[in-house]
Amino acid sequence: MIRVLFFASLRERLGIEAEELDDFPSTVGALCEQLAGRGGPWHEIFAADRAVLCAINQEMAAEESEITDGDEVGFFPPVTGG
């Protein structure tokens, strides 16, 4: 099981702050495709050419980064701090 968190405008557009997934693929890219498959705003955000960023266990991850059972996966827009 993994815990998936959504931040900022992603959270607003998807209407969800966090969820747990028992069924998850092994890479970030594949997880994005799985989420895009939900349609609507999920497809808008997670389909190919996505601008969304991802972190695994609070460290920046890439499309090919691997997801393991127990991981915390965060999705968020490009950052705007400072």
């Binding site: 931040f7 900022a8 972190a55 827009p77 705007t80």
Partner: protein, 157 residues
């Protein structure tokens, strides 16, 4: 090298945060700092207030990693990064970066490096409330991405 990272809901006294990177450090000959402030205008619209969201846990880790990376590239005595979250008003300090070193080159470059990396890698998101009551998320800028990319992988710039 000493690193102090803080993410805080309370107002940031940016000026007071600078002295600790050199006081009591007799080998320090140079201090560089950056203060980021909330402005009252963005993209042509008057902005009355701003909310800063962050990813608790990851924010501190990301800032720590950026400070450590600066310490790998330049000989530094101390790095301090303090960043606000929560509600801000125009003229409130958003971020303070202060860096000290024996000579000026390291602290000047490291300070610029740290803020360039923070703006593209630290998980904060700004939401503005404009004067006409509109709420909007601030968009990331290409110029920030380009500035971060300009620091090559191993360069002590």
């Amino acid at each position: 090298m000493d690193i102090e990272i803080r993410v805080q809901e309370t107002p940031l006294d940016a000026i007071a945060e600078i002295a600790p990177v050199y006081q009591g450090r007799p080998s320090v000959g140079g201090v560089a700092s950056f203060i980021g402030l909330m402005r009252d205008i963005n993209q042509g619209d008057q902005v009355d207030a701003m909310t800063l969201e962050h990813y608790p846990g990851m924010t501190e880790k990301a800032l720590q990693a950026i400070a450590e990376e600066a310490g790998r590239r330049w000989p530094l005595s101390a790095v301090r990064i303090a960043h606000r979250v929560g509600e801000l008003r125009p003229q409130d300090p958003i971020v303070l970066v202060a860096v000290s070193s024996a000579h000026r080159d390291a602290s000047l470059r490291a300070c610029a490096f740290i803020i360039d990396y923070l703006k593209t890698r630290a998980p904060f998101w700004k939401r503005e409330l404009t004067a006409d009551g509109e709420t909007r998320w601030v968009e990331a800028r290409d110029s920030d991405t380009e500035a971060a990319a300009a620091w090559s992988d191993d360069e002590a710039g």
